[in-house]
């Protein structure tokens, strides 16, 4: 099944069950269960230290869980080595952008399509330039010299170059001025709608995350305390309590 076809199904693409994971023997995530269906926009929100980045790192393979399972397209992801997982169709836009500073914008994007074949890459590049015209303008510039917002666009573009079925974004608004963050969210939404691209968005800023998502999970102290449709969650005072303590 091609990636395009994959996105059109109503199957469960990503399924996580009872996941425990952490660092140095200390579990940061406890008994996490969540699911993402094809083409869905799912948000995971929660205060800092809740374990949101750890979740993505575990899915990508940089962290090995102590218990639980992760299935992608029915395959046991934990049996697959970290650098093989992007080949399956999950792309990770990491916290803090993490562009390759000594490579140019174009080279960064080329690295994004490391897992796609050459012919598809050219088309994907055009699409990414279409979404983010600034990247086309500056394609020869070293990524390390870009501003925060431009780096975020590059990081997202890089993720898109892998033609993924699911794009995971870790706090894309961090460190960005609100106006720029808004612009990026809008763009993300457009991409999601046009391509039926599955998105998992991890954010600290609850409002934005709930605004765009079809479903959301609330993570606190390593556990999921709430989940459901944004409309229901917004009126739930437990979110405010999780962040502000009262």
């Amino acid at each position: 099944m091609s990636r395009q076809e994959l996105r059109m199904t109503t199957d469960t693409l990503l399924e996580i069950s009872n996941l425990d994971a952490g660092y140095g023997g200390v579990d940061v995530l406890r008994s996490i269960s969540l699911a993402v269906y094809a083409g869905e926009f799912v948000s995971v929100v929660g205060p800092n230290g809740a374990g949101k980045s750890t979740l993505f790192k575990t899915i990508s393979g940089l962290v090995t869980p102590s218990a639980g399972s992760i299935h992608f397209k029915g395959q046991d992801l934990l049996a697959i080595e970290a650098s093989r997982r992007p080949h399956l169709g999950i792309a990770h836009v990491p916290e803090g952008r993490q562009v390759f500073p000594s490579l140019t914008i174009l080279e960064n994007l080329e690295m994004g399509s490391y897992v796609t074949d050459r012919r598809a890459s050219a088309d994907l590049l055009e699409k990414v330039y279409h979404w983010f015209p600034k990247l086309r303008e500056r394609h020869g510039q070293l990524a390390g010299t870009l501003s925060g917002g431009e780096q975020q666009m590059l990081a997202i573009g890089r993720g898109l170059m892998a033609d993924p079925a699911i794009l995971m974004l870790d706090e894309p608004s961090m460190g960005l001025a609100p106006a720029i963050a808004d612009e990026i969210f809008e763009r993300l939404l457009e991409i999601h709608r046009e391509n039926s691209l599955g998105i998992i968005l991890v954010e600290q800023r609850v409002a934005e995350a709930l605004h765009f998502a079809r479903r959301a999970y609330v993570l606190e102290a390593g556990q999921i305390i709430l989940s459901g449709a944004p409309a229901d969650l917004q009126d739930d005072d437990r979110i405010r309590q999780a962040y502000l303590g009262m």
Binding site: V26, V28, P47, N48, G49, S147, G148, E171, M174, G175, P178, Q204, R205, V206, A207, E208, A209, L210, H211, A221, G222, Q234, D235, I239, R240, Q241, Y243, L244, G245, M246
Partner: protein, 597 residues
Amino acid sequence: MSGGTRDLIHIGLFAVVYMVLAFLVSNSYYQLIMTIVPVWAVMGLSWNLFSGYSGLISFGHAAFFGLGAYLVALCMIVWELNPWITIPLATVACGAAGLLVGLPTFRLRGHYFALAMLAYPLALLYIFEWLGYQEVALPRKEEAPVLYMQFESQVPYIALALLLLVIALVVTSRLIHCRFGMSLLAIKLDEDAAEAVGINTLAWKLSAIMISAALAGAAGGFYAVVLLVVTPLAVFGMLVSAQALIFAMFGGVGTLWGPVLGAFILVPLSEILYARYAADFPGIQGVIYGIAIIAVILFAPQGIFWKLQVLLKPGRSLVLGATASGMNDRADVGLLKVDAVPEAGVILEAAGLSKAFGGLQATNNLGFQVKTGELLGIIGPNGAGKTTLFNLLNGFIRPDSGSITFRGNAIVGKKPNRICAMGMARTFQVARPFTQLSVLDNVIVGAYVHSRGNDEAALHASAAIKLVGLERQCDLPAVNLTNKELRLMELARALASKPYLVLVDEILAGLDPDAMKEMLVVLRKVQDLGITVVIIEHSMQAMVQLVDRFIVLDHGALLTEGEPDSIVRDPQVIEAYLGKKWLADSGHEQTGVADDN
């Protein structure tokens, strides 16, 4: 019985046994080996004392060895000075050389340091070759053989070699059991954390290299007397530096007997193999040493000594060093009490603080005051610059502009260990324990800055441990602690320096509710002693019950400050955490705030 006394007994026994052996062995070749082995053991100890303890890898100890050898040889030839004078002279001279080498080179770390150290002996090698000293032979002094250390029998040589080794062992033993050893280990395990608890890392590193160089110089000087011939390659060559390193590593880094063990195994092995097979297999010595290093790094990176310990006592983690004193049960928590300061009011003040990293403005014209004795919370969303602020206050980073005043003194530009000595302590966001020290030793290291001796340090440390409630765990290696215990230990280590103010960086992160409650109780106790506490946290729930006052940061600047009640309802704060649209979408209006009470 303290570690030091135990060591002396072991050393004494060892010396006696060795001397008896010396008299029993009659084969002159074996006697020569018995002379050479202690010399290399001293080299191993010398390397261990510096690199094994500080963690700075020196590939250049041959420089000191060679200098010692040439000094003794040339003094005998040119000025007819005898080795009884010149060997001690060489020791002192090489100590000075160590200082000269250390001063510029310690500004480097890691790879650059290792490379620089590699260059010194090689440079000396070429210089001495150029000076014409390709082969310096010590003259025979038949008129006064004893005066010139030229004996007929090999036994006096063995005795002298043994004497040198015993001196080196005693010096090492004394040093590692006092604060020298502990401080160096702390520097090795985490140099930044050591700075933060008041250890003057530069001073200790310089002392270590001086003593180490002195020992190496003595070994080199004696080596010249034994072999009667000095060539640049033999004393400055890479093999010399490599051997110093190998014996220490093979036997066990950071121990007293490890280097001795390494030398006593490897030197006879390679010498015998060399004698037997050198004709057929030239270079066999080097191959043996090379394989030994590779094997050790792969299978027992800490050395045989430690590997044996691990095998014999399974389940126990490595614990390095051990202070001379133990936990002092009579220590009273009140020892840490801070007397009411006459100029009570503001203990810490920051004004106009700014710091940028590349394009990112991490701290933006920040100014605030900390009142004496209060418990102040600093909060803000992720990326707001909270830890950067602590690094600025604590001296790890220098601000681009602005000033910081602590207890009336300007502290911008001072090193972290100075600031700690002035009374500001801190814990780290990612716990930085000295992993291979016990809990007690970890805390004792923190106590050194304001204690005169080992015992006083142990006293203060014990008080701090009691305060946080870690008495039962005091002998455990830090690496075996749970998350909560680690945080408590970090706090105790900070408190042992008897601070007026302690900066606490996210000490509650990742704790379950019970552990969190325990931690809050401890923090309250700290405040009760009169110590001012400034705490960064994300978990608002806990903070709200704990703090007297909040400061809220966003994008590196001060957003607002005030008491918990008002902060939590402040629309600016809610917006910073939850986002602007939260207020709009969810219909949380701010008009009826008072009604929520």
